[in-house]
């Protein structure tokens, strides 16, 4: 039945467009060094070539350090999407694992995971991340992934736990159990594939949450360290010149909005496909 959900999604036009945008973004991120015309950290002349409006040489203009904004946005995709994808994978894996554990074992494991969720959900995520960055100093992208991913698994855990508990009561699981299948075999062969679409929804939403979080961290000066470009720190450079150099804000903002929006649309359509499937069943 999960395969039907995927098939439904493939025939959904908004979902296809959103997936295409995300795919393009991923390709851009991967091939950025070949796509970009300039080195994103190259400062040809920070005195006379700074803050140039978009032109044929610089399609997206230049920034306060005379660096090419297009090249920075392309390379920024690497960092921003890399961090976002890494954090998303970590969050979803952690969430799925903890949610599954809670559902399958129940009892004190369930209670412990539930308490952990309650504790973490009570604390604003942005402030938790800021506190940790303040504690451990400037963070490499890897640490940022660990931090953002490690604080973002709550939603996935809740969803997976609820879905697992629901499915554990269903006939096919009970039947498999009666036939002597082990607990983990059931989880791997039946439950995970059945719940995969819901996990995908959680993943898309996690992706959509991480990109603005990185931008917000950059805004308080604690995000990706310069000169490595990220969409967040390109935007930060732009906030000083909102009215005087629009190209510094518009292009990275466009990149952020497109990817986040696509992730959200994908999550929506996926949810609709799941609902349609459940409805039909």
């Amino acid at each position: 039945m999960a395969t039907n959900t995927w098939r439904r999604l493939m025939h959904d036009r908004p979902a296809r467009i959103a997936a295409a945008v995300l795919g393009t973004a991923a390709l851009v991120a991967f091939f950025a060094p070949w796509l970009a015309r300039y080195d994103p950290t190259l400062q040809p002349d920070p005195v006379t070539l700074r803050l140039l409006a978009p032109s044929w040489q610089h399609w997206f203009g230049t920034d306060p350090f005379s660096r090419d904004v297009l090249s920075r946005v392309l390379h920024g995709a690497r960092v921003s999407l890399g961090v976002a994808a890494g954090a998303m994978l970590l969050a979803v894996t952690l969430g799925a694992a903890l949610g599954a554990l809670a559902a399958v074992f129940g009892g004190w494991v369930d209670a412990a995971v539930g308490a952990l969720v309650d504790v973490l959900i009570a604390m604003p995520r942005l402030l938790v991340v800021i506190a940790l960055v303040a504690t451990f100093g400037a963070l490499s992208p890897w640490w940022l992934i660990a931090l953002i991913g490690g604080s973002g698994w709550l939603a996935t855990a809740r969803i997976v736990r609820a879905e697992f508990r629901d499915h554990l009561q269903r006939d096919y699981v009970l039947a498999a159990r009666a036939l002597g299948a082990s607990r983990w075999r059931i989880v791997w062969q039946h439950l995970l594939p059945a719940v995969a679409p819901q996990i995908a929804v959680a993943a898309a939403l996690a992706l959509a949450a991480v990109i603005p979080l990185e931008a917000a961290l950059s805004f308080v000066g604690l995000g990706i360290q310069p000169p490595l470009p990220s969409w967040g720190n390109i935007l930060l450079d732009g906030t000083d010149y909102l009215t005087t150099a629009w190209w510094l804000v518009v292009f990275p903002l466009g990149a952020v909005t497109l990817t986040v929006g696509s992730a959200l649309v994908l999550a929506d359509r996926l949810r609709a496909a799941i609902a349609g499937e459940e409805h039909r069943r």
Binding site: I121, A122, L126, L127, L132, L235, V260, G261, V265
Partner: protein, 324 residues
């Protein structure tokens, strides 16, 4: 019912205790102390800093400080904020009402607007109002809040001068003004931060509410209602919405802490020093007693809000669960 309340309260207390302890432990690893920045200067001898550290017990081992802090908390004392030269209680009692006002107003406006947008979208499903509003709400979620805030400040505040750029009220002795003028002044100053925050809330609510509404609209009882000859608006407002609003309210309860946290940047940009900004400043100043108190308060608020929204969600949408 009493048992439920008691277990809930115990649970909430346990959560708060764990949060406080873990924050305290975490802070021990943070470099610097409350006097590192406030007492840094070429002409300030290092001895002065050591003296102030000793005065507030920062030369003590962490375990002793924790025991002292917890003991004081049990007596209802939150401690002294070294970075503000004030008691923590005074700082917090200034900040909490501001946050409650800002987040509360943004929540109410955002929720109402979000539900309204969703109903409109459901009514015109797959036609242009649905599409346009869908794109707008998508943008409302995707554009980072701090950027929205800066744009609002630059255009609505500086360029067109419709609203004050920042601040929580006009200058002068506003307390002596007639009541309606005081309220108008407050609303005028609240406008920008509340609008920006409300846009974020409304976008999220609308997206969830629309999906929930569309899910319900296929159900049998809606078909029954339509068969009875009810108009489409009546069906939406009277039958579909009450059955679809519960999960959205519960979701809002879950999102409340992140709303308070997300308000940090908005509070900072619009000079609205509520809990988020207080906590942020306290973190950067390593003002431990203030950080702990603020985190604890945020946790209590979050737990309360969750409980409250759970109750509301149950009250609002009991119909279908009772019917079959």
């Amino acid at each position: 019912m009493t048992r439920l309340v008691v277990t809930r309260a115990l649970h909430a207390a346990a959560v708060c205790a764990v949060v406080a302890t873990s924050v305290f432990v975490l802070l021990q690893f943070a470099p610097g102390d409350p006097f590192a920045t406030s007492l840094d200067g070429a002409d300030i001898p290092p001895g002065v800093r050591a003296e102030w550290r000793a005065r507030y017990g920062f030369d003590r081992p962490p375990t002793e400080r924790f025991v002292r802090w917890a003991g004081a908390l049990a007596r209802g004392e939150l401690g002294y904020s070294a970075s503000r030269h004030q008691t923590v209680a005074a700082v917090v009692s200034d900040a909490v009402p501001r946050t409650l006002l800002l987040v509360g107003v943004a929540l109410v406006i955002g929720f109402a607007a979000g539900v309204g947008i969703a109903v409109l979208q459901a009514r015109h499903h797959r036609r242009w109002p649905d599409r346009v509003l869908g794109a707008l709400t998508l943008g409302g979620v995707a554009v980072p809040e701090f950027l929205l805030a800066l744009l609002a400040m630059t255009w609505l505040g500086v360029r067109w001068r419709l609203f004050p750029v920042a601040g929580i009220g006009s200058l002068g002795d506003t307390a002596a003004w007639p009541l309606w003028e005081q309220v108008a002044d407050l609303v005028w100053h609240l406008a920008l931060p509340a609008i920006v925050l409300a846009i974020a809330v409304a976008s999220r609510v609308a997206r969830h509410q629309r999906a929930a509404l569309l899910g319900v609209l296929d159900e049998d009882f809606i078909r029954t209602a339509r068969a009875k000859g009810l108009g489409e608006w009546d069906v939406l407002w009277r039958h579909a919405l009450p059955n679809a609003i519960g999960p959205v309210i519960a979701l809002l309860g879950l999102a409340l802490p992140s709303l308070v946290g997300g308000a940090v940047l908005i509070e900072r940009i619009f000079g609205w020093p509520g809990m988020g900004l207080t906590l942020f400043d306290a973190l950067l100043a390593r003002d431990y007693p203030l950080v702990l108190a603020a985190v604890l308060l945020a946790t209590v608020l979050a737990v309360l809000a969750r409980t409250l929204t759970d109750v509301i969600a149950e009250l609002v949408a009991p119909r279908r669960t009772r019917e079959p």
